[in-house]
C-alpha cells in the first residue's frame, strides 16, 4: 500500500497512546490497607478468560481507531503500485506512450484496445496522484508535449493509434533530455506499452547509456511500467508481399501476393475471406489458412483500360487487432529503372553494369550506363534508381549530391577505390588493401533481410561459394551484411535517414573476387538494390509508417488514415496523394513480430533504477489506484463502536443493592 501524504505516517506511533495511558495509569496507583481481601482475591481469580479478553479487545479497538485515523489522513492508495507516490506530489509526470499498431490489440473479445485502456486507466490515476506538470511523449512525434491536466490526455490527438512502430530507447532519451533541460525535481515516468521487442529494441546499445544517465539522477526519476502483454494467438496479420502490374491481353492486370499469419495454428484449414479494393472497386478472394501462415501468390486483378497507376487496399475480416487487418499499396506502370555506374574502369565494372541492365521481369525496363566521375554533373538524379560508385570516396559537392540522392530514397553501392586511403563517407572509411595471399571465403551473411536475404521460397543465396582474393578493410559505424573469415566485413550498410547505401569491400574483377564470375549473388544483389531504389522513383510509392523524414503536411487522404492530422499521415496506414505522387503507408515488417521482451531482460534494462511494473489487461477500466481513506474512516468508526459496546456494563452493579 502506498500513501499520498506519507509524512503523516510519522504520527503512527500515536496509535500506542491508549497503551501508554494504560501503563501510566498502572504507574499512578495508590496503596491502601484493605480488609476485604477475600473478595478481591476471588474477583482477581475471576478476572480471566473473557473479561481479560474484553479488556485486551478494548485496548486493541482504541489503538485501531487511532491508527485508522492516521492512515486515513495519510491518504492511502489501493493498487499494486508499491511506493507509487511516496513523498507526495511529483514535480513532473511524463507519460511515454507506445502508439504502435500492436497497441490496438483487444484480445479475448474485449471492447477496448490496449492503447485506449492504458490511457483511460492512467487518467484517473494521474488525477489521484497529482503533479505540478504533465508531459506526453508519444512514439510518433517523440517530442515532449505538455498538457494542463490528466483529463486533457484523452482529447489529445497524440494518444490516438498509429501505424508506426515505437522506439522506446528514443522515447526515454527524449524524456531524459526533457528532465535535464528543465531541471526537474522528482519525476514520475509512466511507460504505457505492450512490451514488443520490436518497439523496445532491448539489444540496442542506447539502453546502457540511458540507464547510466538516469542512474546519475538517483531516485529523482521513478519509472512505472504499465505492461499490456496479453496477446491473441488467433489474431490474423495481413501483409502484401508484392504488387506487380503486367499486360494481359489488351489491358493489364495486377498480380498481388499476400501473406496471412497467426501465432497459433488450429486443426484443419480455415477459409479467410480477403477483400481487394482497387481504386474503390472491390473484389473478394478466399485464402485457405493452414498452419500459422499462408500466402496467396499473384492473385490477378484485372485493371480497367488505361489505368497506368492507382492504389489498392487488401483487407481481412476484423479480429482482435484491427491495425493489421488492412494493407495499402500503390501501383503504376513500371518506369524505366536506371542505374549509373561511376567508374574510371569500365571493364572492371562491366559485370555490375550487365547485372543492372538485365530485367528479371518483362514488364520492367532496366537501363544502365557507365560514366567517369567527371561526368557526374550530367546525371539525371530524379530518374535514377541505383548508383554504383567505383571511384575514389566522394568528397565535397559530389558527396552532397550523393547524399541528396540517398535522401530522396535512392540506393547506392560503393566499391573500394583502386588506390589511396580517401576519407570517410557516411561514416565508413576504406582501409588499405589486404595483403593476405590466397583465397578468403565468406564466413557469414545476413540471410534474413536486406540484399543477401534468402529467396521467397526460403533458399539462401550461394554467398558462401564466393571467394575473395583482395579486399579493403572497412572501418566506421555500419551493419555488416556479410563477413569474411577473420571477421572483416564484405558488405556493410551504414545507417541513413532515407535510402540505402552499401559498401562492398572488394570488386567484381576476377583478380579481386569471384563476385563477377559467380553471377547469381551479384545479380540478385544489384537487382534488389535497384528494386529498393526504384521504390523512391515514379509516382506511386510504398512507405513504411514513421520511417524516413517525409513531410506529409501537403498530403491528401485518399484511403485509410482514419481521422489523423495531415502532419501525421506519414504515421498512419493509408493511401495519400501529393501532386502527382501516390503514397501507400503501411506498418513496418518487424511490427508483425509478436515477440515480447523477456522479463529478465526488462529487469536488466532498468537495473539500478527506481522501477515498478504492473501487468494489465486490455479492457480493464477504472483507475490503477484508488484513494481508500474512506475505508479507514469507516474502520475507525467501527473500532470506536466496538470499543463502546465492549465498555458497556453487563448489568447494574448488584453490590450497591446489597449495601442498600
Amino acid at each position: 500500500m502506498s500513501f499520498l501524504e506519507p509524512i503523516m505516517l510519522a504520527a503512527l506511533p500515536l496509535a500506542s497512546l491508549p497503551f501508554i495511558i494504560h501503563l501510566i495509569n498502572q504507574r499512578r496507583y495508590q496503596t491502601v490497607r484493605w480488609g476485604a481481601m477475600m473478595f478481591l482475591l476471588e474477583a482477581n481469580r475471576m478476572y480471566r478468560g473473557y473479561a481479560r479478553l474484553r479488556q485486551i479487545l478494548i485496548m486493541v479497538m482504541r489503538i485501531l481507531a487511532i491508527a485508522a485515523l492516521i492512515f486515513a489522513i495519510s491518504r492511502p492508495l489501493a493498487g499494486g503500485w508499491l511506493g507509487v507516490a511516496a513523498g507526495g506530489k511529483a514535480d513532473a509526470t511524463i507519460v511515454i506512450l507506445d502508439r504502435s499498431p500492436s497497441m490496438r490489440d483487444a484480445p479475448a473479445g474485449r471492447e477496448r484496445g490496449k492503447l485506449d485502456t492504458a490511457v483511460a486507466r492512467l487518467i484517473p490515476t494521474l488525477e489521484t496522484l497529482g503533479s505540478t506538470r504533465y508531459v506526453l511523449i508519444d512514439s510518433d512525434t517523440r517530442s515532449p508535449r505538455p498538457f494542463e491536466k490528466p483529463a486533457d490526455l484523452a482529447r489529445m490527438p497524440e494518444v490516438g493509434p498509429s501505424s508506426a512502430s515505437a522506439d522506446l530507447p528514443a522515447l526515454l532519451q527524449a524524456a531524459y533530455d526533457y528532465v535535464t533541460t528543465n531541471q526537474l525535481g522528482r519525476t514520475e515516468l509512466w511507460i504505457l506499452s505492450d512490451l514488443r521487442e520490436n518497439d523496445w529494441n532491448s539489444d540496442s546499445g542506447r539502453w546502457r547509456a540511458l540507464r547510466e544517465a538516469f542512474a546519475q539522477r538517483g531516485q529523482a526519476v521513478r519509472f512505472h511500467l504499465l505492461a499490456y502483454t496479453e496477446g491473441d494467438p488467433e489474431n490474423l496479420r495481413l501483409r502484401v508481399q508484392s504488387v506487380r502490374r503486367r499486360k494481359a491481353g489488351d489491358g493489364s492486370e495486377l498480380l498481388v501476393s499476400i501473406k496471412v499469419e497467426r501465432d497459433r495454428a488450429t486443426e484443419g484449414k480455415r477459409a479467410v475471406p480477403v477483400q481487394f479494393e482497387i481504386e474503390g472497386a472491390r473484389s473478394q478472394a478466399t485464402l485457405e489458412l493452414e498452419g500459422t501462415a499462408s500466402e496467396l501468390k499473384d492473385h490477378a486483378i484485372p485493371l480497367e483500360k488505361g489505368r497506368d497507376r492507382g492504389w489498392g487496399r487488401v483487407a481481412i475480416p476484423a479480429d482482435s487487432n484491427p491495425a493489421d487487418n488492412e494493407y495499402y499499396f500503390t501501383f503504376e506502370k513500371a518506369p524505366t529503372r536506371r542505374t549509373v555506374v561511376v567508374s574510371d574502369d569500365p571493364v572492371g565494372t562491366r559485370p555490375l553494369a550487365l547485372a543492372a541492365s538485365i530485367s528479371p521481369d518483362p514488364g520492367v525496363v532496366l537501363e544502365s550506363e557507365v560514366i567517369p566521375p567527371a561526368q557526374l554533373a550530367s546525371v539525371d538524379w530524379s530518374t535514377l534508381s541505383l548508383l554504383v560508385w567505383s571511384a575514389p570516396v566522394p568528397e565535397g559537392e559530389t558527396a552532397r549530391l550523393i547524399e541528396a540522392f540517398l535522401g530522396r530514397g535512392g540506393t547506392a553501392i560503393f566499391l573500394p577505390p583502386a588506390g589511396g586511403e580517401g576519407g570517410a563517407f557516411l561514416g565508413v572509411k576504406y582501409g588499405p588493401w589486404s595483403d593476405r595471399p590466397g583465397e578468403i571465403a565468406v564466413e557469414s551473411w545476413r540471410g534474413d533481410e536486406d540484399l543477401l536475404a534468402a529467396s521467397q521460397s526460403g533458399r539462401s543465396l550461394p554467398v558462401g561459394e564466393l571467394v575473395v582474393k583482395r579486399y579493403r578493410t572497412l572501418t566506421g559505424e555500419f551493419t555488416p551484411l556479410a563477413s569474411l573469415k577473420g571477421g572483416a566485413a564484405l558488405l556493410a550498410r551504414p545507417a541513413t535517414a532515407a535510402g540505402a547505401a552499401y559498401f562492398l569491400a572488394t570488386t567484381p574483377t576476377p583478380s579481386d573476387s569471384t563476385l563477377g564470375s559467380g553471377g547469381v549473388v551479384l545479380y540478385v544483389l544489384v537487382q534488389r538494390a535497384i528494386e529498393q531504389g526504384a521504390r523512391a522513383q515514379g509516382g506511386a510509392r510504398q512507405l513504411v509508417a514513421g520511417v524516413g523524414a517525409v513531410d506529409s503536411s501537403e498530403w491528401n487522404r485518399i484511403a485509410g488514415g482514419n481521422d489523423a492530422l495531415s502532419t501525421d499521415f506519414r504515421n498512419q496506414a493509408g493511401v495519400y496523394g501529393a501532386g502527382d505522387l501516390l503514397y501507400a503507408v503501411n506498418r513496418s515488417l518487424p511490427e508483425d513480430s509478436t515477440r515480447l521482451i523477456a522479463d529478465s531482460r526488462l529487469s536488466e534494462l532498468f537495473q539500478g533504477l527506481d522501477f515498478s511494473r504492473v501487468d494489465e489487461q486490455a479492457g480493464r477500466l477504472g483507475s490503477l489506484i484508488e484513494e481508500i481513506w474512506r475505508m479507514f474512516l469507516v474502520s475507525m468508526i467501527g473500532a470506536m463502536t466496538a470499543e463502546a459496546v465492549l465498555c458497556l456494563p453487563n448489568r447494574a452493579r448488584p453490590a450497591r443493592g446489597a449495601a442498600a
Partner: protein, 303 residues
Amino acid sequence: MFTESRQRSFLDTAVLSRLSGFPLYARRPMQGTVSGRHPSPHRGSSIEFAEYRKYVPGDDPRRIDWRAYGRSDRHFVKEFEADTNLRLCLVVDTSGSMDYGSKGTTKLEYARKIAAALGYLAIQQGDAVGLACMARGIVRDIPPRRNPSHLMNVFDVLEGIVPSGPSQIPDVLHELAETLSQRALVVIVSDLFIEPELLSSGFQHLRFRKHDVAVFHLLDPQELAFDFRRPMRFLDMEGGPALFADPSEIAERYHASLERYLSGLKQVLLESAVDYHKVAIDEDYEQVLVRFLIGRTRTRGVR
C-alpha cells in the same frame, strides 16, 4: 454506676441513657445464678403460675393448694415460673481487617461502641457480662460476672484492643461453645471475613449448647461500594500478600463475589437460628442497637 470519671471514646452517656429504656432480653430460657428478668427452664418462685403437680412426700406442705384439695379431694402443689439472670458473652473480632474504616471510624471502634453499650445495659439489669476478643484465637477472655465494677474491666479490655492478625472465627466459635458452661447470650461483633460454609459448624455448635447467638456483621461502606477510581495496591490488613488491581476492571467481579458471600452468610446464619444484623459502619450505632433490642423484645424466649 461509673466509679471513675475517665472518658472512654466508645461510651456516649447520652446514648446509654436513651438505650437504658430498652430491656435486653434473651430469645430462649437462660440458666442464671440469681433471680433476674429472664425466663428460666426451672420452676421457681415468681408470681407467674406455671402448673399444678401432685403432692409427693417430701414437698413442703405449705405449698399444698387447699382450694384445689377442696374441689378434688386430692393434694396438689402449685408451681410458679422461675426468673433468672442471663450471662452475656460479648465476642469482639480483633483481627487486622477490623482496623479498616473509610469514613473516619474503624470497624473496631464501632464494635467497641456496640459491645460497651450492650455490656452496660446487661449490667444495669443485673445480668452477667463477659468479653472474649478473638483473632487467631481467643486472645483475651473475661468470664461473665454481674458485678458493676466488673464492667470497668470489660471497658478497659475493650479500650486496649490492638487489631492484628488473621481471624480464625470457626475455631473460636467451637471453643466458646465448649467453654461456656451454662446457657448464655453470645453477641459476636465482627466483619466475618471468612467463607460462610466454614462458619456453619461453629454456629450449629453454639445452637446445640442452647446458647442464644446474635451477630453484628460490620461492613465498611467502601467495602460494600468498592468505588475506587484509580489502580490500587491493596495491602492485606491481616498479613496476606498484597494485590495490585485496577478497580475499574475487577469491580464488577468484586461485587459479584460480595453478593454471593452475603447471601451465603445469610443462609448459614438463618439455618443456625442466629440473630443476624448486617451493619454498615456509617450507620448510627444507637439505631442499630435500638433495632436489635426491640427485635429481641418481640421474640422474647419462652420456657
